[in-house]
Amino acid sequence: MILLRQTVESCRQALILQLRSRMTWVLCLLGIGLAFFAWFLPDEAAMEGGREVYGISMYFLVIQFALPVIVLYYGVTVLHEDLSDATSTYYFVRPVPRFSLLIGKWLAVSLLCWAMIAAFLGLMYLAIAVPDRPWRLGQGVPAAWLFSYLQGAAMASPGYAAVGLLCGAWFKRPIVVAAAFVVLSELVFSNLPAEAGIRVATIADPLRRWLVLDIAPPRSSDFYEALTGSLQGHEPAALGDPVNSLLTFTLIALGLAIWVYSRREYDARPKD
């Protein structure tokens, strides 16, 4: 029971610290600003792209870019800042197992980042889909797409957070390693030919396949092409269960992060 309380406390403290950070407020203002500009989306764009304006822009801007970058950044900093400035010392001498501290931070990063991404997805939906626009074929953007993106972000956030924490616990320059992960894993490996088994060892590939299955855009649409281009004609459902892949990836990354964080000796020295 006390272990649960300490884990929740670790999560609460990490959340408060992140909510107080300047970066969080900068990102929130940036999101609100983007949504404000999206409100003035020209009617011509809606006429030409129809519902795909929202689908494609959110896929590339949020799922492919903002989600991994933001969650990895928070995952790295929530751990590495404490380790590098020695505030971890106060925690490591307390009667709390390090895995409790780490799981608390992981929950905090996953929750906070998902909340920020969800708020942005919601704002963009309000800005793009809700105004009375002359949509092609009279179709607006279905609310189900928003919910699919919210679910997708909720499934991917814990995975990226675990990778961020692993980098923060393991490496001296975790931001560089996290950036390498985004480039190598999320951009290169996830776009290898569908036969490449390493694709399942990424977050981007299973997340993309899950979105295709959940949103089910028309096969002739640009949106479908954007989501399945790298599959080279393979059926997303034939490449395995994306939820299993995401879950396995997340658990392995989190397990590794706990192992590294719990085993490491801690010898903070003055930075002079």
Partner: protein, 301 residues
């Protein structure tokens, strides 16, 4: 109780501590050594932040890596690291909540501890605005708020003004008298001397000596001593002392002489005679090098 049994610690090819064995009972024990001697490494081994390469560390009957031992352990680090945007009360409360206390109990203990160290008026202010002394007291408050049985204080006097230093010394002494095992390191040796019951002297990762300050000084009887002699007529006094074989050096001070001697009872008898009988040439005799600093200087030289 803190027990080191044949503890060595290496960083690759570099040995930080070599074959350390000692036991620390209740009371205040000073940890003395130059920069790089291994004081911080020793403390980090004792609180479980580091693991020994060889040997065994026991604190309060168990490994400091275990939560059971850590429950009764307090640590005041030497590093000046905080969450700067928190206030002092919140910071200490957070540490107690992580320790396992409920919110209300953690807050009550945090307030009590901060009040004990004179932080009652400023505990609501952000740590960013605290002076060095206040920050030091916050570290001490978080280390003692849960009433630990074993306390490690790494350079706790650093940055404190004289009044605060005195208060800190009193607090440390009270802790020792209450049955807590306290290990305290400091480079301000004369302050440590007034607080500690025992001393561990370490140099280049090795334990050079342990015991009370006077015990250690007695071990050095064959070393030259230095005495400060206050006199109204230092020239006359110097003339008489230079003829003595046991006097190996003399220098004038603003109110008398400083004398180096190889020791011997004969010198003290002569000095007593000079002070009492022969024109009262000596007003006061005081040892210069009976301090912890002098003992340490002798041992490492």
């Amino acid at each position: 109780m803190i027990e080191f049994l044949g503890v060595s610690k290496w960083y690759g090819q570099v040995s930080a501590l070599v074959d350390m064995s000692f036991t620390v009972e209740a009371g205040v024990t000073g940890l003395v050594g130059q920069n790089g001697a291994g004081k911080s490494t020793l403390m980090k081994l004792a609180i479980g932040l580091l693991r020994p390469s060889l040997g065994q560390v026991d604190v309060d009957g168990g490994s400091p890596q275990t939560p059971e031992v850590r429950r009764n352990l307090g640590y005041c680090p030497d590093l000046d690291a905080f969450y700067e945007d928190l206030n002092g009360l919140t910071f200490v409360t957070w540490m107690l909540r992580i320790h396992g206390y409920s919110g209300a109990e953690a807050r009550r203990r945090a307030k009590d501890s901060l009040q004990r160290f004179g932080m009652a008026e400023v505990m609501g202010r952000k740590i960013r605005g605290y002076s060095k002394g206040m920050r030091q007291r916050i570290k001490l408050a978080q280390a003692l708020a849960h009433e630990p049985k074993v306390v490690f204080l790494d350079e706790p006097m650093t940055g404190l003004d004289p009044v605060a230093r005195h208060q800190m010394s009193e607090a440390i002494r009270e802790l020792g008298e209450s049955g807590v095992s306290v290990m305290v390191s400091s480079h301000v040796l004369h302050e440590l001397q007034s607080v500690v019951d025992r001393v561990l002297l370490i140099h280049q990762g090795r334990l050079m000596a342990e015991g009370t300050v006077s015990d250690l000084r007695r071990q050095l009887e064959d070393r030259p001593h230095r005495l400060r002699l206050r006199s109204r007529n230092p020239r006359e006094l110097a003339a008489r002392l230079t003829s003595l074989e046991v006097v190996s050096g003399l220098s004038f001070t603003h109110d008398g002489l400083e004398l180096a001697t190889a020791g011997g009872d004969g010198l003290f008898q002569t000095l007593t005679e000079l002070g009492a009988d022969q024109g009262q040439l000596v007003d006061e005799i005081a040892p210069v090098d009976d301090s912890l600093e002098a003992v340490f200087g002798y041992l490492v030289s």
